[in-house]
């Protein structure tokens, strides 16, 4: 059997295994070790464990439990409640204002954790019931929360960019800074979309009634603004020492985790229950990620062993004879398609090592590509049939929201995200200006 054939078989077997509903890491790991034993006999049996040793050296992943813990402390201690009220009161008079406020809330949450989980949890528990109670369109609000929470991996800190940094060997600090403006731009596009839809069809997002607004005094409104201070403090305490070089990446993540605990303690919300849930869920989610990455690393090693990098390069460059930009676009498209079916963490670990060398060889900037990659990951994360958000949404959404609603709700937002992807592709300076400015010597 030719190597290309084996590679294709590995991929399709993995997809098939996933369909059985077996745990993702089990499906990937099974295909990886089976292929490696089949290809390389007894010697191949070590490949699975060699991946564990490799993973141990990926020390930036030490940030993973920290950023997850941080997110859980924020969501469990309901630190976001005041924030939500702030956006709620201030944005209320605008068409679709509460949905817009939710996006803004998500941006702030994104700046305080490295994944999408916390945004998802906060959105589904605080914002979703409130929006439904006020007769917001359920498709719209379901989409808002999923799309908004996906910003968690683009706006720094971001675990996905940490993973990408390790694979592409690029500095995390620059990648994070590169994510700032594209993240804000995407949020602005979401807001633009919501505003436009609600302007045209006001029933989708009713404006708050004047009576209700009158209940909130001016003093109260100003007091609520202070709620916005807390996230700024947490973000600054974590990012500034890191970007200035006083603390290393992993140390900054600890500072962030501790800052969130500190904030919860000050607010008197760090209960035993919060501590228990945050600690337990951090273990659960960290383990899920680490075991998936472990399996995906073994899968990637076998793929590499089959010469997949050269095969892909040969396919794009020699067989199709494409230009650099055409290859880049084709890669993003293929990644989008694979991403709809597959877990985005696993995709990142398996596919990025295949694509990154090619992107580099074509002469593109790897920091910029990291941002493109992350946006593609966000889309992969959003799109059915597979994505954590779908998984989480199903678990958290009230019963009146069906799975079909969840699937349908993301469609317009995915288009907005694709638009963002195109804009950042066409104008790399949106991503690159900030890191170049900050790290300029």
């Amino acid at each position: 059997m030719s190597y290309d054939m084996i590679a294709i078989m590995m991929f399709s077997t993995m997809m098939l295994m996933m369909m059985t509903g077996q745990r993702v890491f089990g499906a990937i790991g099974f295909v990886a070790v089976t292929a490696s034993v089949f290809l390389w006999g007894v010697g191949g049996s070590d490949l699975g464990f060699a991946a564990a040793m490799k993973l141990m050296k990926w020390y930036p992943l030490l940030t993973l439990p920290m950023f997850i813990f941080m997110g859980y402390v924020l969501s469990e201690s309901r630190l976001a409640d005041d924030l939500y009220r702030m956006f709620h009161v201030w944005m209320g008079p605008v068409p679709g204002g509460l949905a817009i406020g939710t996006i803004l809330l998500m941006v702030v949450i994104s700046a305080m954790n490295g994944l999408s989980v916390a945004g998802m949890a906060i959105g589904a528990t605080i914002a979703l019931p409130e929006l439904l109670r006020r007769n917001y369109d359920k498709l719209m609000v379901t989409g808002v929360i999923q799309a908004g929470s996906s910003l968690g991996i683009l706006v720094p800190p971001s675990v996905v960019l940490v993973l990408y940094a390790m694979i592409a060997r690029q500095p995390v600090g620059q990648l994070w800074l590169a994510g700032v403006f594209p993240g804000l731009m995407m949020a602005a596009l979401f807001i633009g979309y919501i505003w436009l839809r609600c302007k045209i069809t006001p029933s989708l997002g009713p404006v708050l009634s004047p009576e209700e607004l009158a209940q909130v005094s001016r003093a109260e409104k100003l007091r609520l603004l202070r709620a916005g201070l807390l996230p700024v403090i947490i973000f600054v305490s974590m990012m500034v020492p890191f970007v200035m070089g006083y603390t290393s990446l992993v140390e900054s993540s600890v500072v962030g985790a501790l800052a969130s605990v500190f904030a919860a303690v000050i607010k008197g919300r760090f209960t035993r229950q919060v501590f228990e849930t945050a600690t337990r869920e951090t273990l659960a989610i960290s383990c899920m990620f680490m075991w998936i990455i472990l399996a995906a690393l073994a899968f990637g090693a076998v793929f590499d062993g089959l010469g997949a990098v050269k095969a892909i390069e040969g396919f794009f460059v020699d067989r199709l004879g494409l230009s650099a930009w055409e290859i880049l676009i084709l890669m993003q498209l293929s990644y989008l398609i694979m991403g709809t079916f597959l877990d985005d963490t696993a995709m990142l670990v398996i596919v990025a090592p295949l694509y990154v060398p090619l992107v580099k060889a074509l002469g593109f900037d790897l920091i910029w590509y990291g941002v493109l990659y992350t946006i593609t990951c966000q889309i992969a994360y959003m799109t059915p049939p597979f994505g954590y958000n779908l998984f989480l949404m199903r678990a958290m959404a009230p019963p009146e929201i069906s799975i079909i609603d969840i699937y349908r709700s993301i469609i317009p937002f995915v288009f907005v995200m694709i638009l963002a992807l195109i804009i950042v592709t066409a104008f790399p300076q949106i991503a690159l200006w900030l890191p170049e400015h900050v790290y300029a010597r």
């Binding site: 060699a50 490799k54 090693a301």
Partner: protein
């Protein structure tokens, strides 16, 4: 004709460095072997992490390895000499001289055979200098510097107040940017430019801690024995051609980049002061020699060789 023999060789080098240090000799081998044998090349960490290279070869997960003894954590007594043994070598030609004419080759072959590995050949790789943020003009400037380096050098350099820092290799560049590191003592100027460290440091110290890193090709002993003699010989020849390429690549690069490139400014510690470092190195050698008879034997060879070079005078030694 029987099915071709297929080998997997993993190198310690990443793709960028690989272009200079391995790609060509593998291409040459595959071309000349003309279908009788094919070596597939893998870069650092592709199949197995570099720390597991030795075991993976011993076990047969991969068939052959290009690495120094230190990076692949070889479980032999010669490992301590594998990186840059402090001031053991002055010039890159010292390595082939020592291996081919002073008996190191036999010692290496014997030690590796004990652990089921064939030592194919040793070559002279890059020298080791400092690349730093601040200029170093005297030994005192080393005091308190946080330097990314390899274990043996770290042990040695701490005598001059250097704080050795261990990081994954690929994180050194970022650590230099953020100021976590004050500099690196890892390679010569050629690799400083090739790997991008020249972009994140400002000064280069021309005094080297070692004239060359000793690097090798190894193979799983059973796999090696299965290969017919003419292909074994071809492999030796091709691998030697890779070592040879390095000789002139580094020799040219070390001089050319100091003179004609501007990213790094060169400084030098005066000879009489640097003599103190050499003196300390000899004390360090004696400590290593005391660890085992085999190590003592190798240190003796270094001493005798260097004595001969000093007595030979210019151009072998200028001091």
């Amino acid at each position: 004709q029987s099915a071709p023999i297929k080998w997997r060789l993993q190198t310690y080098a990443g793709p960028a460095l690989g272009v200079e240090v391995i790609d060509q000799c593998i291409k040459d081998f595959n071309q000349i072997a003309d279908g009788q044998m094919e070596i597939e090349l893998f870069y650092a960490d592709q199949l197995v992490p570099t720390g597991e290279l030795f075991r993976a070869m011993q076990k047969g997960t991969i068939d052959a390895v290009q690495s120094d003894d230190d990076s692949m954590a070889s479980p032999t007594e010669v490992t301590v000499f594998g990186g840059y043994f402090p001031l053991g070598l002055r010039y890159s030609l010292d390595v082939p001289a020592l291996f081919n004419h002073w008996g190191l080759d036999e010692i290496w072959k014997e030690e590796y055979a004990k652990v089921g590995v064939r030592h194919i050949s040793a070559g002279s790789w890059d020298p080791c200098n400092f690349a730093t943020h601040k200029p170093i003009t005297s030994l005192a400037d080393l005091n308190g510097l946080r330097i990314f380096t390899f274990p043996t050098a770290g042990r040695f350099l701490s005598r001059f107040g250097v704080i050795p820092v261990t990081l994954p290799w690929e994180d050194a560049e970022v650590a230099l940017q953020t100021g976590e590191l004050d500099g690196i003592a890892w390679s010569g100027i050629t690799e400083d430019y090739t790997s991008g460290w020249a972009n994140v440091t400002e000064h280069f110290l021309t005094n080297n801690i070692s004239g060359a890193w000793i690097g090798h090709f190894f193979a799983n002993m059973d796999r090696w024995n299965e290969v017919p003699p003419h292909l074994q010989r071809l492999m030796e020849v091709c691998f030697n051609s890779s070592h040879y390429h390095r000789q002139h690549w580094y020799w040219n690069g070390e001089a050319n980049l100091r003179v004609n490139e501007t990213k790094l400014k060169s400084t030098t510690i005066p000879d009489d002061e640097w003599a103190k470092v050499e003196e300390e190195a000899h004390k360090f050698w004696d400590e290593i020699a005391a660890e085992s008879p085999l190590k003592a034997k190798i240190v003796d060879i270094f001493k005798n060789y260097n004595d001969t070079m000093v007595k030979a005078g210019k151009p072998y030694r200028y001091s």
